[in-house]
């Protein structure tokens, strides 16, 4: 049985890490990162069966791919907090000579990252390839992959949808961060995404929906999805979240998709997020 309070405490620290990274860099994407904090915390601290250390081939462990790479701050925080690299390295986010690139990359050798992402629509295909590789290797672990809802506007996503169902890639659990927002505004105003559940079902995916900012409900959905693996269908969870969740003035608007808070806003945000695991030290030239 999951220790919900422990996961919530970790999530609070992860949110602090997100705000502090983006503030120090004065760039980055806080909105989607905050909205997906429960998911990343649940996956890395509860759900995924991970091996110690980092192994690119992910053999005999569950692996995760982030297709909407711009929400790197949440991933970096969770990777550091779960031991892939020193937490102090979060202070290098988006700075020169850092392994923590604006969008995740393997190029600098950051442990935990298996493919670059940021140019949207590509991660689901990579996850499918990894899942097929696991099958060939006789490895019964799972592949998780998160996509943004705006990403559903990319054609490659639907190529992947057809491929995954046709090849019965039933060891993959994909998720859509359904926050209804993208850079230019609400998805319904930019390019609307009606009937997302029906669409994925009609493409042959076992499709579920869950609340993504409620830790209990999310864990339940992830457990249910895991139960559905191995049944000949890939799995899609449409995860309803609020962009900016956890910081009141960032919630529910696309305006904090890719904007860094100023000093005052940062102070206001951090005041809403209890420090539970200890903040990482900022670089000396960064004011908080």
């Amino acid at each position: 049985m999951a220790d919900i309070q422990r996961l919530k405490d970790i999530a609070s620290q992860v949110r602090r890490d997100i705000i502090r990274q983006v503030h120090a860099a004065q760039s980055g994407h806080p909105g989607g990162s905050l909205g997906c904090t429960e998911l990343f915390t649940a996956l890395y601290f509860e759900v995924m069966d991970r091996k110690p250390g980092f192994h690119m081939d992910g053999r005999d462990e569950d692996v995760f791919f982030l297709s909407n790479g711009h929400i790197s701050p949440v991933w970096y925080s969770v990777l550091a907090r779960s031991g892939y690299f020193p937490v102090s390295e979060l202070s290098t986010f988006r700075k020169i000579n850092s392994r923590l690139q604006g969008h995740p990359a393997t190029h600098e050798g950051l442990p935990g990252i298996r493919v670059a992402s940021g140019s949207l629509g590509q991660g689901l295909s990579v996850g499918l390839g990894m899942a097929l590789g696991k099958k060939l290797n006789g490895d019964d672990h799972l592949v998780y992959c998160l996509c943004g809802d705006g990403e559903m506007q990319e054609g490659q996503i639907w190529e992947a949808a057809m491929f995954g169902a046709h090849h019965k890639v039933d060891n993959l659990i994909a998720l859509i961060d359904r926050n209804g927002q993208q850079i230019d505004g609400p998805t319904k105003e930019v390019i609307s995404l009606p009937n997302l559940k029906k669409r994925w079902e009609s493409f042959g995916w076992k499709t579920m929906e869950t609340q993504g900012n409620d830790m209990e409900q999310l864990l339940q959905a992830l457990a249910e999805a895991k139960n559905q693996t191995g049944n000949g269908q890939p799995i899609m969870i449409i995860m309803h979240t609020e962009m900016g969740y956890g910081v009141d003035f960032m919630e529910g608007t696309h305006k904090w998709h890719g904007v860094a808070p100023n000093d005052e806003q940062t102070e206001k945000a951090l005041a809403q997020l209890p420090e539970t695991l200890g903040d990482y030290p900022l670089k000396s030239n960064d004011a908080e």
């Binding site: 493919v115 629509g121 590509q122 295909s125 390839g129 590789g133 060939l136 190529e159």
Partner: protein, 319 residues
Amino acid sequence: MMLSKYEQTGKKATRQGFGDALLELGQANDKVVGLCADLTGSLKMNAFQDEFPNRFFQAGISEANMMGVASGLATAGFIPYTGTFANFSTGRVYDQIRQSIAYSHKNVKICASHAGLTLGEDGATHQILEDMGLMQMLPGMTVINPCDYNQTKWATKAIAEIDGPVYLRFGRPGWPVFMPEDVPFEIGKAHLMKEGTDVSIFATGHLVWIAMQAVNALEEEGISCELINLHTIKPLDEEAVLASASKTGCVVTAEEHQRLGGLGSSIAETLAMHHPTPMNFVAVDDSFGESGKPMDLLEKYGLGQKNVEQAVKDILRRK
């Protein structure tokens, strides 16, 4: 050294060399997997598919997804060979290759058939002449353009031995087979086919055969030609280029590609930096192709035997 060593022993498409080698490779290396975007017959991948159905993934007409799936398979430790036409292997999926394969340093072998004008009747929509330029601009990408069936077969196997992304380019038509079995193939190493003193001719792909015919004719006229087969476009064997250019004092390049971004461009950069040398290019001059027979198209677009001969004569006057 005479070109007589390279006698035509038959006629086979370079894509057949790819397909035959892929089957042998599959037997020798169980990490090799194949992916194809609805062109299994055209790429001659059927034999591999039949023998290794579990290691072959039909991607359908979804090249972008195919590149991503290949990246994932490579991450899991496999050596994916993707197959589709050169046009759909490069321009159509450039960003997928750039982010998910090249920048992520994935061990994916992008195998591209029907490159260039010799695709023939299908016309310019399919006759990509920019692919080597696109691919060689990507950091860390190896680019190989073999000249005949045998060399394509060797190249297909050799690329499995290097860790990293590779673009392997070959073609559609039946083409003379002339590379003897005992000629070693080494990625990144120029292959000196004939020594000469008056001019260095660097050729790649189908144009090696054309250049050989030109060399035979030029030798009859008393022009001593050095002929070098540059199957590896990147990394370029700069040492071989500089050694030959220094010896002969003038250079002609020959390729089935746009002049901009091709083999000639790369050689020009190398020479400009280290040993400026008068140079002529046999390449397509900022133009799309059209429907027609392969040899007719090569002549119309300035890639025929006579064009190579003329390029040599012109450059000798500027030496």
